[in-house]
């Protein structure tokens, strides 16, 4: 079935009132560049792993920034860390650093 990313039940909403944002904040503190993301999608477009799996770097780190940590670790583990995304990022974000940091911070999820 096609996952359109939304549905009728309210549980689908990202609840910024109840989500635990501490980890997200810690990630920002360590890599403030990540805040500069303007969601252009270049990283995902060029992604070596993204070409063969459902891995979407931009989406995963955006969800993490919203406090949605579920499956972030498993998703980031698909990354091959080849570095193409860092090379194309127009905002100069240290994307490989982001992958490692999210894996480190969210290893328990």
């Amino acid at each position: 079935m096609i996952d359109f990313g939304f549905g009728v039940n309210t549980a689908r909403a990202i609840n910024m009132d109840t989500n635990d944002l501490d980890t997200a904040r810690e990630i920002f503190d360590r890599l403030p560049d990540l805040q500069a993301c303007m969601a252009c999608g270049s990283c995902t477009a060029t992604c070596t792993a993204g070409a063969i799996t459902s891995f979407n770097f931009r989406k995963v780190h955006t969800l993490v920034r919203r406090g949605e940590y579920g499956e972030a670790y498993a998703e980031m583990s698909k990354c091959m860390l080849c570095g193409k995304c860092r090379l194309v990022c127009p905002r100069g974000i240290n994307t490989r650093g982001v992958v490692l940091l999210i894996k480190k911070k969210l290893g328990d999820y």
């Binding site: 060029t46 090379l87 240290n94 490989r96 490692l100």
Partner: protein, 600 residues
């Protein structure tokens, strides 16, 4: 001669502690070596390598030849302390034997011989020679101590812009070491003032003391200064195995083990201890580090990394923040393989079991074409279409049938992941690509990415497949006459990619290719000391701004050659250098493809 005196006690305790601790450490480290390493030692024990190791111990541990190459004054400083002290001990031993014959003499007897022999007769010619030689050696060592003091205050004079910041234990040992020789001078001179047994140095200082003080004061002072000297030695020996001075002895087993073929690996092992404790923290690795030089990062350099790891205070931040360009190891007087150690520290921090996370690779095959020669572009090359286009033209001109492994996007070679320490997971990618190469039965594998090249050569088990960097491949085609180029009037400078030059030892082939089409101009820091572009995939810590600073600094050095353009042989370097200079930047393949002589 009577060798009973209480002042020798601190010295004797120090020697005991030193002996016990060092023996414990070495036996433990050797015992814990993997069986493969032990067999390797057994095989090489009676080979020429052992003699080479002996010679290296003389030239490096004593004479410090490699430091002389960095800076002659710095080399002299290290040599005077190491070789001078060694000669003092050796000559002192011979002197004792000359006086006493082959009777057993306790160690303190050799070391404090000037004191114990003060009542002996010193009239023979040979005795005067010994006394003066010993004085000359003491002066030699003292000159080194004076330089060491100067270096603390004014390091530039010794060719170092920055020196190491030390830990507390080092400061104790350092202070004791600095006191040893002045204390010895004072002790021997005082004895000489009373007994007139000094040479040109101790005798002269002794006469000055005799002029300045009454005989009673001198006698009272004598035992005090010998106590001070003995204490300095004792403290130094006790502190030594726990301080950077552990390198004095450790360098010797390191040299032997290295000559016997023992290496550090991508996982930690017992041999690493020899490397860690052979670091003298001289700080020579700080200046070549571009993170320090251009990005102002001062806590991660080889010396600090080795120190932190040795004292179990290494943080992932320090381990991760390194370009792994290898410039530090090139300069390291002890030849510590800093990159391997850093890699296996990263393994400790980051390796996680693979959990079959790359199962999705199964069956992935986007390759195209047919041929015995395989071309692996590598992820970075895919973002540099000029290189791909140039390679295509070169293959065509050479009539080569090519199998393109990853032109439509492939699987990463695994090196980037390995360099972050996730060694186990990286193996999955390596396994996948190996199977792919075997499936198409290629005999030669060409890649234009030095990162891929290094991992293909070091970690892949490709048996019958010859792995070539495109610089080697193109050079071969030119040499065989399968490719002809028309020389141009351009002058290019060549930038050595870290992974290609220091990483794989490929310096000459790319230069030969550049010279076939243009004049080659060398930057001031080149070949094994070539600068890093700053975008190294080994560093996951520095932000974009720091990468840019390093690239700009490299750009300046390349522009200083006066070249019309920069040629490099790595897609990542190409992108990075382009950000740091206004000169045009080409890959080696591009300048060849653009100047192919069309066949008639």
């Amino acid at each position: 001669m009577n060798f009973n005196s209480s002042f020798a006690l601190p010295f004797s305790v120090g020697v005991m502690v030193l002996f016990v601790v060092i023996t414990y450490k070495y036996v433990r480290w050797l015992y814990r070596l993997p069986d493969g390493d032990k067999r390797q030692i057994g095989r090489n024990l009676f080979s020429r390598q052992t003699w080479k190791a002996v010679w290296e111990c003389v030239t490096e541990s004593l004479l410090h030849r490699r430091i002389f190459r960095v800076n002659p004054v710095l080399g002299y400083m290290h040599m005077s302390l190491a070789f001078g002290w060694f000669l003092l001990i050796a000559t002192g031993f011979v002197e004792t034997v000359a006086y006493m014959g082959w009777t057993p003499v306790p160690l303190r007897g050799h070391v404090f011989f000037k004191y114990y022999s003060r009542e002996a007769v010193h009239t023979e010619m040979w005795q005067m020679v010994f006394t003066n030689v010993m004085d000359a050696l003491l002066l030699f060592v003292l000159s080194g101590v004076a330089l060491a003091w100067t270096k603390r205050v004014y390091s530039k004079m010794l060719g170092m812009r920055r020196t190491t910041r030390h830990v507390w234990g080092d400061r104790v040992a350092l202070t004791a070491l600095w006191c040893i020789f002045p204390a010895r001078l004072l002790a021997e001179s005082t004895t000489s003032a009373i007994w007139h047994n000094g040479g040109f140095l101790t005798g002269w200082v002794g006469s000055l003391l005799a002029d300045a003080m009454s005989p009673e004061t001198l006698v009272a002072m004598e035992s005090v200064v010998w106590w001070v000297y003995s204490f300095a030695l004792g403290i130094f020996f006790c502190a030594m195995p726990f301080s950077r001075y552990m390198h004095i002895f450790t360098e010797v087993p390191l040299i032997f083990l290295r000559r016997w073929g023992i290496k550090s690996d991508d996982r930690p092992k017992s041999f690493d201890h020899f490397q860690l404790e052979a670091c003298s923290r001289c700080g020579i690795c700080i200046d070549p580090c571009q993170l320090q030089r251009d990005a102002g990062i001062n806590t991660v350099q080889g010396v600090y990394f080795l120190r932190d790891r040795r004292y179990n205070m290494l943080s992932a931040e320090v381990a991760d923040n390194c370009l792994m360009c290898g410039r530090c190891s090139e300069r390291c007087p002890v030849g510590v393989d800093i990159n391997s150690l850093r890699l296996n520290s990263r393994y400790t921090f980051h390796n996680s079991p693979s959990f079959r996370r790359y199962d999705y690779l199964r069956g992935v095959d986007t390759s195209q074409g047919e041929g015995k020669v395989g071309y692996f572009a590598g992820c970075m090359t895919l973002l540099s279409p000029r290189i791909l286009q140039a390679m295509e033209r070169i293959f065509e001109a050479a009539d080569e049938q090519v199998w393109w492994a990853d032109r439509n996007g492939g699987v990463c070679c695994g090196r980037p992941l390995k360099l972050t320490g996730e060694v186990d997971a990286a193996r999955e990618m390596m396994r996948h690509n190996t199977q792919l190469f075997q499936k198409y039965e290629i005999t030669t594998l060409v890649t234009s990415c030095p990162i891929c090249l290094k991992v293909f050569r070091e970690d892949y088990n490709l048996q019958d497949i010859e792995v070539l960097h495109h610089s080697e491949y193109i050079q071969r085609l030119l040499a065989e006459g399968r490719l002809k180029v028309t020389p141009t009037a351009e002058a290019y400078t060549y930038h050595d990619p870290c992974e290609l030059g220091r990483g794989c030892g490929i310096y000459d082939e790319p230069r030969a290719v550049v010279k076939s089409v243009a004049t080659l101009l060398e930057p001031s820091e080149t070949r094994n000391m070539a600068l890093c572009c700053g975008s190294s995939i080994a560093n996951t810590a520095i932000p974009d701004g720091a990468q840019l600073k390093i690239a700009r600094s490299l750009g300046q050095s390349l522009e200083a050659t006066g070249a019309d353009g920069v040629v490099t042989a790595c897609p990542l370097c190409k992108k990075a250098v382009r950000r740091g200079t206004t000169l045009p930047v080409y890959d080696l393949a591009e300048i060849v493809a653009d100047n192919l002589t069309t066949r008639h």
